[in-house]
Amino acid sequence: MLTNEEIRKLVDVETGDVARKIFVDPDVYQQELARIFGRCWLYVGHESQFKNNGDFITTYMGEDPVIVIRDGAGKINVLLNSCRHRGMKVCRKDEGNARSFVCSYHGWSFSNSGELLAVPREEVAYCNGIDKGDLGLLRPAQVDTLHGMIFANWDPDAPSLNEYLGDMKFYLDLMADRMEGGIELIGGVHKWIIDGNWKLAADNFVGDMYHVPVTHGSAVGIGIRKPWGDDGYQISPGNGHGFGGEFGGLAEGEGVATPYTPFIKKVRENLEKDKGDYVSKIVPIGHGTVFPNFSFLDTMRFRTFRVWHPKGPNKMEIQAWCVVDKALPDELKAAVRQQYIFTFGPSGVFEQEDGENWSQCTAAAAGWRGRQDNFNYSMGLGREREASEVLGHDLPGKIGGMWSEINQRAMYRRWRDLMAAESWSDLA
């Protein structure tokens, strides 16, 4: 464990200097598993994935494998995917439907709400009395949802999801609650491995518009988007969360256009009537991260959710989905799906370059000399304003220009505070 003092030296929010060490050091990483992933609200799935009782998916919270399942009573459960007897994964599938899970090692069976239902030959084997009530699958201390997005938290002392999201909730509403019926995920998930630290991806999505014209400059070259102007924003609503984009919506362009763009504009007009003129400026709400590792893109062409699962200091597993409004017409869903696959995911003409960059950043920062240096997050220092000053309407949070690292600074401040704190109460 690095001490409070050691941690505090790693992030200087006044200058925007963040020690490279935090992206490569194994001790820092172990501490993250405990103090970040062991305490924060982590995205584990979306309710639209659970249409029927018994529907489940498997995913991760930090490095811990979990099952997310709708039980017989229709309730969503998050369960550690590890038998209480000898730890075996009780479910070895990506998704499916199950009334119960029978462990393949000794046959203990667990209900789809996690209770230990039966152990084989219980009477003769455990006549001393096994306390089945105490041996259900482990589960996070808290589970909650927002617009169908399911979050879970191992820490009973963590603030509620609502409090944790804070002012970010206001903006997530704009992303996930635009049409009657809300959102749903298109089937299938892109899963792949990048040889890079998870924070590189989280920080990229929280506030890094600045990489887009370079990393993704080939998009202009092939005519699927126009060159980038300077007219956008980064909003930091607190608690390490953040989002940003071009005013008017990310990713306008000509090539390979789909009817989704005019459609979303219509949707936005309706929303604007309800909420005010800021809507047309910041909806769709662009790129963003809910601290620590849930990110999204919400553009004129598609929406995506993604989680950056940590797999060691130098490795992450990306899980990424395409998100649509449930009420979107089928042919538009199909168009969005195709657009998404073409531009994002491992083969996406945008996303290919992120993999190249994040893996090489991590490699180049790992040497003895390199890791003594800092990464530089000084962009936009001293030019942060209240969002309401710029956009009116009492909008919450701080705002910076589109080319600003305000959100990354807020993210690493939060990271530092959590890493240094012994408990949530210590943090406050």
Partner: protein
């Protein structure tokens, strides 16, 4: 099946693979019909007895028609496709070719592949899978009218998919 016919198809696939390995992407693109679908669904672990593939309403690793496939190729010439600049080194082992003649001018071809790629100094990926192509004879030459590909992985073990299959 006639020897010359079979060999023509096999050599077509080898030549195609070599065009990719030698970085002749435009020539490679010309081997596809204008209405081609270039589709790589994903293998999921959903069943006890089979490895389900994602359907065509679900996500895929690729799902291109000629226009987007052409853009992928064009992209490599923009000078900003950093995932392939400098380019990967690739080599494709194409094997187990099976041919179903649908007609004189149209065949369905199964093949297995091992695509080896390294890039920069030591990044190394091996993609193993299979393909089901529909080839059509157009003006005396074969063209690929459909290609469905599968990589036999669940979590893709690569930084990206910046090469073709």
């Amino acid at each position: 099946m006639e020897y010359a016919f079979v060999r023509g198809i096999e050599q077509f696939l080898y030549r195609e693979a070599r065009l990719l390995d030698e970085g002749k992407f435009q020539e490679w693109l010309d081997l596809f019909t204008d209405d081609v679908r270039y589709w790589m669904p994903m293998k999921t672990t959903r069943d006890a007895t089979s490895s389900a593939e994602t359907t065509d309403k679900e996500l895929a690793f690729f799902d291109d028609r000629k226009p987007t496939l052409s853009l992928r190729v064009k992209r490599l010439t923009t000078g900003m496709a950093f995932a392939e600049d400098p380019p990967s080194r690739t080599r494709r082992i194409i094997s187990n070719i099976e041919i179903d003649a649908l007609s004189d001018k149209e065949v369905e071809v199964y093949s297995n592949f091992l695509v080896y790629r390294t890039r920069l100094e030591s990044v190394e990926d091996t993609y193993v899978g299979h393909r089901k192509d529909v080839l059509k004879e157009v003006d005396g030459s074969w063209k690929i009218a459909q290609r469905k590909m599968i990589i036999e992985q669940n979590v893709l073990a690569s930084n990206n998919l910046s090469v073709f299959f």
